[in-house]
Amino acid sequence: MKVHTSSKLRKEFIKKWVKGLQICCSLKKNMDILERKKKIKLCADIALASTKNETTLWSIALISDAKKDDENKILVDNLLGPESRFKPRMTNRQMIACHKRVRSKKILKKSRHVCQKMKKMGPPKSNLAAYIAKTLVKRRTQVLKRLVPGGESMDEFSLIKEALDYVLSLRIQVDVMRTLANANEVLNQSDSKIID
């Protein structure tokens, strides 16, 4: 069952990726290697996110990040197609405001919790181990938030779910790209052998 869904996802991913690359190629010829690499990666990312059909937060965040760049915008719009009803969830200003709001709320919460803790705890850090564990977990969740696209505006609970989904999709992406790269290399080598 899993294999079927994953192969279907793979096909979709490949199709969209190749389509994106073709659009890239038609838009600009003769790119140097670094540009090519960027375009390849971009197309792969967008294709990956579009296979989700906006059901997950990270895919939405990925696409909206890609759209922010003006030069990528055309590519994205073409790739997603006229049937895509995707609109950037918020404008830049809204996103900044949202982040500020989230951050200020967090600061308020934190200060309230700290005050409560100070009142409750007589001897500070009597439970040192738990405190250390908590800080460790906090640091790591921060790092994870940075890794997963759109993670900053997620709460811890949905972050884990999004990370799960993201890992699965990344695996598909890596798998497809690797097999393609391997296949191409092998074919090229065999071609060169024949020529020699």
Partner: protein
């Protein structure tokens, strides 16, 4: 009197109609005008039976004062009289569940009082099941949590515990997904592994896109390539491309990668394979000094 009746009917929409009628006869006149006091003064058995699934045992009286204030403040959009129970599975309707930790405070305070009566406080009966007939979707969900034996009955800590349990359940799922994580105990270490995994996957994407960029002078990938790749290994679970590559093609570099099935995402196994592609990259495009710099950086990273 009629207003109270209306509010009560809204409250117990998903309950039995007949039970509700019997309730109405028992409800004493409330002291305050708040609609929830009607609920609070109901005889314990009938009231809680309406709110919980039939599997729950005999309920207790809930007289928490918090219950009065919080629902009205928390539910700005929907009518404060509407709430429903949800199923325990966290994977569906996540947006709903994100709001539930806040909303569950009033209901959780109910269950704290129940615990204090000392009825059936086994840890097995930790969370209640949902009512079978759920009403329409715009009602906000409530998660019922029963306090465990010998643990703090403060409503905040119960909410905190419910949240932690949810997070731990999800972490378990993640643990199963990421290889090598099932033996690790402790949230921090598991998170560590997950972070490493995500980082390695992202780096692999970068490397692979670089490889592909080096392979194709124009990024238009050949279609016949795609087709052959599609029919062959791309449909497999691992990167095994024996389907399309004839075995006599002795390719020392790719052998560990392609012909032997290996877990693709074992980080330790990947690293030696990544150094060799960079060598081949250099041979393809040796004139570009920027590329060699890039690959050297990558090697140093590894």
């Amino acid at each position: 009197m009629e207003k109270r009746e209306e509010t009560c009917t809204e409250l117990f929409q998903f309950g039995e109609e007949s039970e509700f009628q019997s309730l109405m006869s028992v409800v004493p006149p409330p002291e305050t005008g708040n609609s929830f006091t009607a609920l609070l003064e109901l005889p314990p058995n009938q009231a809680v039976m309406l709110l919980h699934s039939p599997e729950e045992t005999a309920p207790d009286n809930f007289t928490s004062p918090e219950f009065l204030e919080t629902p009205n403040s928390i539910l700005p959009n929907s009518s404060p009289n509407n709430f429903s129970l949800v199923k325990q599975e966290p994977v569906d309707s996540d947006s709903v569940h994100n709001s539930s930790p806040n909303m569950s405070d009033p209901v959780i305070s109910k269950s704290t009082k129940r615990k204090e009566r000392g009825k059936n406080v086994k840890s097995a009966a930790k969370k209640s099941k949902s009512v079978a007939n759920e009403t329409d979707g715009d009602k906000l969900p409530y998660v019922h949590v029963r306090a465990r034996r010998g643990q703090a009955t403060d409503s905040h800590s119960i909410a905190e515990r419910a949240r932690r349990e949810k997070i731990n359940a999800r972490m378990k799922l993640l643990q199963e997904l990421v290889p090598g994580c099932s033996k690790i105990t402790g949230t921090a270490m598991v998170l560590d592994e997950i972070i490493n995994h995500v980082q390695s996957l992202q780096r692999q994407v970068e490397f692979l896109s670089m490889r592909l960029a080096a392979l194709h002078p124009n990024i238009d990938i050949n279609l016949d390539n795609i087709i052959s790749a599609e029919s062959g290994s791309l449909m497999d679970g691992n990167g095994n491309f024996t389907g399309m590559v004839s075995p006599p093609l002795s390719n020392q570099i790719w052998q560990p990668d392609g012909l032997t099935p290996q877990p693709l995402w074992g980080v330790e196994e990947m690293n030696p394979n990544f150094i060799t592609p960079e060598n081949s990259l250099l041979s393809y495009d040796s004139s570009r000094s920027s590329v060699s710099l890039h690959t050297n950086q990558l090697k140093m990273e590894l």
